[in-house]
């Protein structure tokens, strides 16, 4: 057996791959489901917090800043573990899936809030004044004048952050979520062969490469052009 054969036999073993590809595919389904839930809930919650912050109610803003700073500082893995192993102490026992979803959504919410907030505050004060001087209310000004400009500015940083956090779904393995990496590593232990991990890697590429490329395209399209 040549060394090349030994390499392919170890990392791209056809028999092992044939046996475990349905498991990996199942993992892909779980990862996609998890990612979509995280992105939708995290971005919506982040936008909601930024809008509440725009109301400038002081105690509320302190609370928002505290929450946001907290979830931006903690490693996502720590949050997942805290929720999964900590919440049962309060008689709530979220599944590994729910724990991962909640944790990463909270992290994305925190970063998204900061990005949305930066976008809102980067719009010149004169835009507010012009709109308010024509009789538009606070909410009307926010939705018709400020947000359309602010959101445009937030798209590039938001795309990057969303991709980074969505990849964190792999952390779900530590709380037994059967996402791609979890399925791949259990298949690896069962078969004493790392080929399933290669399949997992391929699955990540197939899933995320188009997103990354689309992200770059969106970034180019929206960057600093107003």
């Amino acid at each position: 057996m040549s060394s090349w054969d030994r390499f392919t036999d170890t990392f791209f073993n056809a028999k092992v791959m044939a046996k475990y590809w349905p498991d990996i595919l199942y993992g892909v389904g779980v990862t996609v489901e998890l990612a979509v839930l995280i992105v939708v809930s995290g971005l919506l919650a982040g936008l909601a917090l930024a809008l509440i912050r725009a109301l400038a109610i002081r105690p509320l803003n302190w609370l928002i800043i505290f929450i946001v700073d907290l979830f931006r500082s903690l490693p996502p893995l720590v949050i997942i573990v805290l929720i999964y192993f900590g919440l049962p102490a309060a008689d709530i026992s979220p599944s590994g899936f729910v724990s991962t979803w909640l944790s990463l959504a909270l992290v994305l919410m925190a970063f998204a809030e900061e990005i949305f907030w930066a976008g809102i505050t980067s719009i010149p004060k004169g835009q507010w004044e012009a709109a308010r001087s024509t009789g538009l209310g606070f909410g009307q000004t926010l939705t018709n004048v400020i947000l359309p400009q602010a959101l445009r500015l937030t798209i590039p940083p938001l795309t990057n952050r969303t991709i980074a956090i969505t990849k964190g779904t792999a952390l779900g393995t530590v709380v037994a979520v059967s996402e791609i990496l979890g399925m791949a590593s259990s298949a690896m232990s069962n078969s004493y062969n790392p080929s399933p991990l290669m399949m997992g890697a391929a699955a990540y590429l197939v899933l995320f490469l188009p997103v990354v490329v689309a992200g770059r395209w969106i970034e180019k399209k929206f960057a600093w052009k107003r």
Partner: protein
């Protein structure tokens, strides 16, 4: 009096920017407010539509007590158009979109109605043919005229101009002043903060000189420009005219 401001004080932290200003403006009057920078002219203007909340005093515009808590400020502001030094057009909308937004959202017009009224307003400032252009595709003078159209589309009773030509290249100033002149001829009540002395001289009914948060003197343009009573007015006008 369509505009009546009495005893206006404004503090910004430690700064006492307005120190008890009274200003009465009659219907169809064009009042010019001049004075050194930092004298409180812009702040006074912004107190009239409550973009700044006066620290003390009263403001009545078209019979509405602007400072009363019960006043619907958004409703009241429809009657007071404002034009800013930096235009402040909405960059993500067309010229017509800029003009029509408040017509739809505040005046409650349908989109078709708002567009028709918006086009008519753009026509009045000579820019109907630029309706579909974005602000950044327009010259500074055109942008400021769109901003004027945005304000007059709501048929305000009073127009406030906060240094409307200060951000413009000299060759573009004329087009904006021409629009202001035609507004004046249509009978609009106008309060203008500006250093366009030539315009003040032949269009204003009254010139108000402010210094250090107070109105120092006021009167017909000829009197203020040729024969100012105060040394500071004289010094200021001398400086302006030398440039």
């Amino acid at each position: 009096m369509i505009v009546s401001a009495k005893g206006i004080h404004k503090h910004f932290g430690h700064l006492h920017v307005l120190k008890g200003v009274d200003l009465e403006v009659a219907e169809r009057e064009l009042v010019f407010v001049i004075g050194p920078s930092g004298s409180g002219k812009s702040t006074l203007l912004r107190c009239l539509n409550r973009l700044e909340q006066p620290s003390a005093g009263s403001v009545t515009v078209d019979g509405i007590d602007m400072l009363a808590p019960a006043t619907d400020i958004n409703h009241a502001r429809q009657r007071i158009g404002m034009v800013f030094q930096s235009f402040n057009l909405y960059p993500h909308m067309t010229a017509l979109g800029n003009v029509a937004l408040a017509l739809r959202k505040v005046a409650g017009k349908s989109r078709a109605e708002a567009d028709a009224l918006g086009l008519a307003a753009l026509e009045r400032v000579g820019l109907a043919d630029r309706a579909t252009h974005r602000p950044l595709e327009l010259s500074g003078g055109q942008q400021q005229r769109v901003a004027i159209a945005r304000a007059i589309a709501l048929e305000p009773r009073v127009m406030l101009f906060d240094e409307p030509t200060s951000a413009l290249d000299p060759e573009l100033v004329g087009s904006v002043l021409a629009v202001m002149r035609s507004l004046r001829e249509s009978g609009m009540t106008m309060i203008v903060v500006s250093h366009e002395m030539a315009f003040a001289r032949n269009a204003a009914d009254r010139v108000v000189f402010m210094d250090d948060g107070l109105i120092l003197e006021q009167g017909p343009p000829a009197a203020i420009f040729e024969n100012p009573a105060h040394e500071r007015t004289r010094a200021f006008i001398g400086q302006i005219q030398r440039h």
